[in-house]
Symmetry: D2
Subunit: 301 residues, 4 copies
Amino acid sequence: MTLTQDAAASPNAIRATHHQASLIVQGEDRTGIVAVLASILTRHGANIVSLDQYSDNPQGGAFFQRTVFALDNLRAALPAIEKDLDARLVRDYGLTYTLRDLSVPKRVAIFASRSDHCLLDLLWRHRRGQLPVSVSMVISNHPDTAEEVRSFGIPFFHVPCQGPGKSAAEAEQLRLLTGNVDFIVLARYMQILSGDFIEQVGVPIINIHHSFLPAFIGAGPYARARERGVKLIGATAHYVTEDLDEGPIIEQDVVRVTHADTAADLMRRGADVERAVLSRAVLWHAEERVIRNGIHTIVFA
Amino acid sequence: MTLTQDAAASPNAIRATHHQASLIVQGEDRTGIVAVLASILTRHGANIVSLDQYSDNPQGGAFFQRTVFALDNLRAALPAIEKDLDARLVRDYGLTYTLRDLSVPKRVAIFASRSDHCLLDLLWRHRRGQLPVSVSMVISNHPDTAEEVRSFGIPFFHVPCQGPGKSAAEAEQLRLLTGNVDFIVLARYMQILSGDFIEQVGVPIINIHHSFLPAFIGAGPYARARERGVKLIGATAHYVTEDLDEGPIIEQDVVRVTHADTAADLMRRGADVERAVLSRAVLWHAEERVIRNGIHTIVFA
Amino acid sequence: MTLTQDAAASPNAIRATHHQASLIVQGEDRTGIVAVLASILTRHGANIVSLDQYSDNPQGGAFFQRTVFALDNLRAALPAIEKDLDARLVRDYGLTYTLRDLSVPKRVAIFASRSDHCLLDLLWRHRRGQLPVSVSMVISNHPDTAEEVRSFGIPFFHVPCQGPGKSAAEAEQLRLLTGNVDFIVLARYMQILSGDFIEQVGVPIINIHHSFLPAFIGAGPYARARERGVKLIGATAHYVTEDLDEGPIIEQDVVRVTHADTAADLMRRGADVERAVLSRAVLWHAEERVIRNGIHTIVFA
Amino acid sequence: MTLTQDAAASPNAIRATHHQASLIVQGEDRTGIVAVLASILTRHGANIVSLDQYSDNPQGGAFFQRTVFALDNLRAALPAIEKDLDARLVRDYGLTYTLRDLSVPKRVAIFASRSDHCLLDLLWRHRRGQLPVSVSMVISNHPDTAEEVRSFGIPFFHVPCQGPGKSAAEAEQLRLLTGNVDFIVLARYMQILSGDFIEQVGVPIINIHHSFLPAFIGAGPYARARERGVKLIGATAHYVTEDLDEGPIIEQDVVRVTHADTAADLMRRGADVERAVLSRAVLWHAEERVIRNGIHTIVFA
């Protein structure tokens, strides 16, 4: 108990991203990439704020770099920078890149079902200024959380998803989403998305699975964890692919349990891990810290 | 992503405590205490559900035991059990005990200031059925969280606490609290309680301090943690005594930080640890798992 | 850097177990078990030092209790205590029990292959006085660690285990072990024990598997962990059964890894987790803190 | 239990550092540093293997960069690279740099007293190929570990350090060390080094303190941790300065303890944390991953 005002003084703890852009570059590793890239940024007067680099093999492997740079008249300068990157990085070095103005938050839709712990944690972190995203909408196959979601000022859409009408539900979801979101978060959404939906929606989808994958793939992981008698339970945030629970892992964590923990205890402890893991994954995705590389991710956290 | 309904099926994961009572016994260790205690419970037909015991020295140290027992007509049987405990444990063995019907939740008042993370986490866990308490009221020296607190159905009282009127504020707090609460939680309440208040309110007070005590006692722990260059930051839940930040520690935890974390980053990461540590301390206190022993605690978690 | 002599003053940090015995009781839960058990111990003048209890269902589940008690003339008193336990616990309540004089260390044989990290960690902890066991021998299918093991004063036997002669190797192992050990530890022993061997040797066998089971059952877990792109790797200590990597889990732990960790990095980080997890499992087994319950364990750590 | 040979196949898991050099650059942040630096390396045909960068303030703060690059004829090329760095980085940008051939291991002396856990863990990791250092000698104020140290093939010197002859002991230590070591590790060395010694020896000194600094500065931290009733104990590796336990922190970690842990238990649990934390600090220092910045460290781990 103290008199300090530190937290109160700065409740919204987002990093200043005015005039900052992220540049993700990937491709085949070759000598000189860093130099070319840095010289382009320098020529435009940009100051490199942070730089992370990874090469999976110094002798001709794959190269990944995340650069954040600051530039006063960023928005005006971006087209010229892109032109240079196209000329040097793409044409000369055969690399691909993604350049993004970090002052423009990514737009996200959150899918949920009855469980509210992951959903509310994301909304609460967002309101607190800790997630640099714009929450476009919450879509749920249950109406339970409508009032709570709307109290955050976020649109809530109830799209039931039962029986034979699954494709109808997905069609409605697509109508709501198309053009409105940059990525989707499944915050304990208890429905399997079809391959068609994943393809048509065309944006990254992050799911939270309530186990330490690849242990307990599929349904009922807590019950199976208890059945197996494990001493730790976990949660995994991953990108969704057509293969259930097999997508690239973004983040994982665990918590200790004992023989005395009931199935309800596991759910309660696991819920805390789920919301922590999911919020980290969403933050890192929003800050362009996660690069997909086949079935893997590079995370510059 | 799965179809499992496990979390949804049992959203309120509190342990069944119908017909259950907790019995805390402490005093000088002597041969035979467990036997006497167990025989009293057996005579009344009670079944021991869990039993934790600690003796700080087998040769004549202090003895602590927490027993949870189940009994069908618990409420009716308690007076007779107490009579037996008085006769055998108190008179014959010189021990003290606390017997509590676990189906009656403890009543708690939460004190808060501007920061909402600990406050909302407790309210949310309570609504979710994870904290076996009755939240009597929230008292804050700022009006900011009034609407949010009331949306949980909890009374909110704004008691400003500035300038020379501190004793007036404490007097008002005492009027609100007297007879209405069994313990108080300071959920990042940024005022120091006077010794008079602590004495007059007469119930245990749990505080969350935003450092790993005894490191960074007092104000501004995150700023000082950054100044010292520590690689982990922490939070500590403790009982409040007149000595600032010196009360018996209930629970602590830490999270890793790096040189790259700003003061705002420390606050954000620390907030997650604070709410986790505080919620565990409140849960354990509510379940009678914490026994105070001078400046220490025995925690049967 | 300090002048304190605290560690030097007491290098061998084993708990005093003179005149102490452990009593494990298990069976069907019924009202009164604790009282009967405590009254037997009290009648013999024993003082209960610690008591842990677990019932998997207060309404007629399975009951497990670990009691440690102190008694001055322990060895002389044990037969009479056993007689009382047979009469009351076994006959009247249908329970089973294990009573052990904790001043007599369990005898263990350690099986190893080329990797020395788990083996040396156990030997070093044992020499330091942290493992209350007597190490009867080390058996390895490689001669590499012979000199190191013998420098600890422990007998080393090289039993090659290649080609068709596996049953010959197991026969020789059985000759060495029979009558000489109370349990076996596989400290990264890279051979699968046959069902015949497990049955004939007739003592508990603890294995360390280099993954967080049930993830990555079988060979090459680190390579497969890297292939899957997990963000944590782990280790699991479990009792060996005929079903490979399916035995009751005693202890698990994990460590964080990143995309930048090579297979060699995973092995290095994993080795630290392996030796930590295995040493905890061996300590707990030696102190009678682990009770097997079908495919599960009750661990009173 | 598996048949995999993964650990055995590559027991010495050090990263290949042939033909690799590390380049640490620090100074005032200015636009273009990364570009200049990368262009110098590119001009010499070096391929950047990893690059970490940190600026404590994008608007004119301090800049720190660690670059590892590969170059076939590294040794021959270093002088020319240094000449370019002097010309561009030092003269034009006012930065300082450290360039080191990573194939030449740093030479370390380990100071120890009676406790062997940190000492043996370092020697064992070194033998296993996990610490890219050359251990020049072990110096101890007690003869106890002489035989064990020499069994690793490492010179052991007993330099008693009692009574009024402390300056004599330090003089002898200086004679042994001068010209022979690049850094010193205090592996639970229970003597305070004088300011004179620190100045004269002229190489970095890493100490392991057996508490989570700044908690429990000075002597007897475990006893004081138990006295305060903390729920976690820790260890801190830091560079030694004249201010006792106040030097820049390199690494810290903690482990959970309970009310039931005796002072001996704390020492045992703490010993595991101490050796883990110290070995990480030594590894990172040896790999040039730690940059001192006043009372802070930048750790590119």
